[in-house]
């Protein structure tokens, strides 16, 4: 065997364990599900297996529920700019040379690292409209402390604490079974509750650490030059730090979008069951219910692939837009 072939053989030997798993559990299923999305694969024995071409796709594009769930998924991404801004602010605060700064960094990072079912169950209890501390606190401010008297005097109405996870309302007043905005649905409901929880969980997480790393490595010469020129703190930030952070921001934004489009599953499954009235049903949860409750595996695969394409398109758009911003 010549050297070239022996090298390839050796390489393949090392690669083998990982590669076999990769093919069986990653690459293979990707192809398989793509192929299946063009069939009517399901578990009904009475319906014979058949190739139905693009029928799954035309069906899902014409299904108002698909668009509603897509809207829900997009809605959840409203929190992204706030979360990124928050991470940046926290990172700036943590970049000071202060004794014990790592303690604060640990505390900020804690929600992100412990995120999971246990935390969602915690927030479900927090959001309980009558026994949860959030509303208990709001009630106290409004009624015991008397904020409602003030509000009544100024606006003529009183405020009741929102029903959170059982309310179909949202800040944009999204309608429940059509695409559109409706005044009656304006308020704070399940969707917003989940967004706030998401911001709390993510604000001190990986994104903050990325910003912190970038800030720590920032070359000080430009900053000092600007200071000598008498620039204000805000001007320094806007013209020196922010552009310097652009690549990090770019990366964080793309990852947030990719994650956000795939998200909402755990929240839906653990906290709301997709409700109330389907308002917290995101794309991933929809795919799950179609595949494992309705047993419509071909259709679910089609929806999953549509989601994959959407993610690709959004990433490409972000890439193009971000690239322009990076060079000033």
């Amino acid at each position: 065997m010549n050297k070239e072939a022996r090298k390839t053989a050796t390489a393949l030997a090392y690669l083998a364990p990982n590669f076999i798993g990769f093919v069986v559990f990653l690459a293979g299923p990707v192809v398989f599900s793509l192929v299946m999305s063009f069939t009517n694969w399901g578990m009904q024995k009475s319906v014979p297996f058949a190739w139905i071409g693009l029928e799954n796709f035309t069906e899902l594009l014409g299904d108002v529920n698909f668009w509603l769930y897509f809207l829900n998924t997009a809605y959840f991404m409203i929190g992204i700019p706030f979360a990124i801004a928050g991470s940046l602010i926290l990172a700036i605060m943590l970049s000071q040379k202060l004794k014990g700064i790592t303690v604060y960094r640990t505390l900020f990072y804690l929600p992100s690292i412990t995120s999971g079912v246990a935390l969602m169950i915690l927030w479900k209890a927090l959001y309980n409209p009558e026994t949860g501390p959030i509303n208990t606190m709001l009630n106290w401010f409004l009624n015991t402390v008397g904020l409602n008297h003030v509000i009544h005097a100024v606006f003529g109405t009183t405020v009741t604490p929102p029903a959170w996870l059982i309310s179909t309302k949202s800040i944009l007043g999204l309608d429940v079974d059509k695409i559109g905005m409706v005044w009656k649905q304006f308020g704070l409901g399940a969707r917003d509750a989940i967004i706030y929880m998401g911001i709390w969980t993510g604000i001190g997480g990986g994104n903050m650490l990325l910003y912190l790393a970038a800030l720590t490595n920032q070359p000080q010469e430009l900053v000092e030059a600007a200071q000598i020129d008498g620039a204000s703190r805000w001007a320094i930030f806007k013209n020196v730090t922010w552009p310097y952070l652009a690549p990090t921001t770019f990366f964080i934004t793309i990852m947030s979008f990719i994650g956000g489009l795939q998200g909402g599953f755990e929240q839906a499954r653990v906290m709301t069951g997709g409700g109330p009235a389907g308002t917290t049903m995101t794309m991933t949860y929809y795919i799950y219910t179609q595949a494992f409750d309705e047993l419509q595996l071909g259709y679910a695969s089609a929806v999953a692939w549509v989601l994959a394409v959407i993610i690709l398109v959004v990433t490409l758009i972000n890439w193009k837009f971000g690239n322009k911003e990076m060079y000033y």
Partner: protein, 285 residues
Amino acid sequence: MSTQNELAGQQRTWWNRWGKVTSSHLLLGLISITTMLPFIWMVLASFKPMADIEKINPIPSVWHPENYIEVFRKVQFARYYFNSLFIAAWVTLLTVLTSSLAAYAFARIQWKGRDMVFKLYLMTLMIPGVVVMIPNYTVMVHLHLLDSYVGLIVPAAFSAFGTFLLRQFMLTIPSALDEAAEIDGANSWQILWEIIMPLAQPGLVTLAVFTFLGNYGSFFWPLLIIKSEYLRTLPIGMLFFDTNYGTQTNLIMAGSVMSVIPVIILFVFCQKFLVKGIQLGAVKG
């Protein structure tokens, strides 16, 4: 005159410095407390009797540490703990092992098709996980691996991300060391274990910590595979605990606290690696 000004100037800067430090700590402290509030509530609530839950006072009127024991009596919580840790350990071990070997093949050996195959790995990172869940589930059904440890461990043990991370790490190790060893007559296996792996240790630990934490909190896949109570991991166990005993908020909170503790412990010990790992993962972008 100038001495007085000088002294006054010194005093001012001294005061400024201390003022700044205090106000920074104050601000940071305030934010920390706000961030920690839900956790604080969770821990306090886990000690409360049921009647106290809806009271505005977060502190229990009577402390009930036996709530924690009650959790173990109501559901097989000890089992959930074992399962989560056991499965996460296996997944971590398998992932680190297979990813190291594969990363070595990508980083250190020149072979035909190497870059093409690596691009294939990268491409799968772009696909949302839910796409592969459906075929993987069907495979498990046909192999009769539903509701089994193997079904929970094996599919989760193959990560393209792990290979990618370790490859990047290995690339930073100077190849001069390899060449020196080769001259001494070492073969690729020896180079891997004597030189590369020890130097790649930070990368290995980072991958291990990430994988462990990721699998510990894994929800989607266990939700599909687990049917019997004896197999439940903590996330699934907590879900059913909440579904069946959700009215007993104090017990549920005790369960949540216990679920979260291993993560906090691991994190406190491995902070360094986690922070480094996130930065490493971001470099390629």
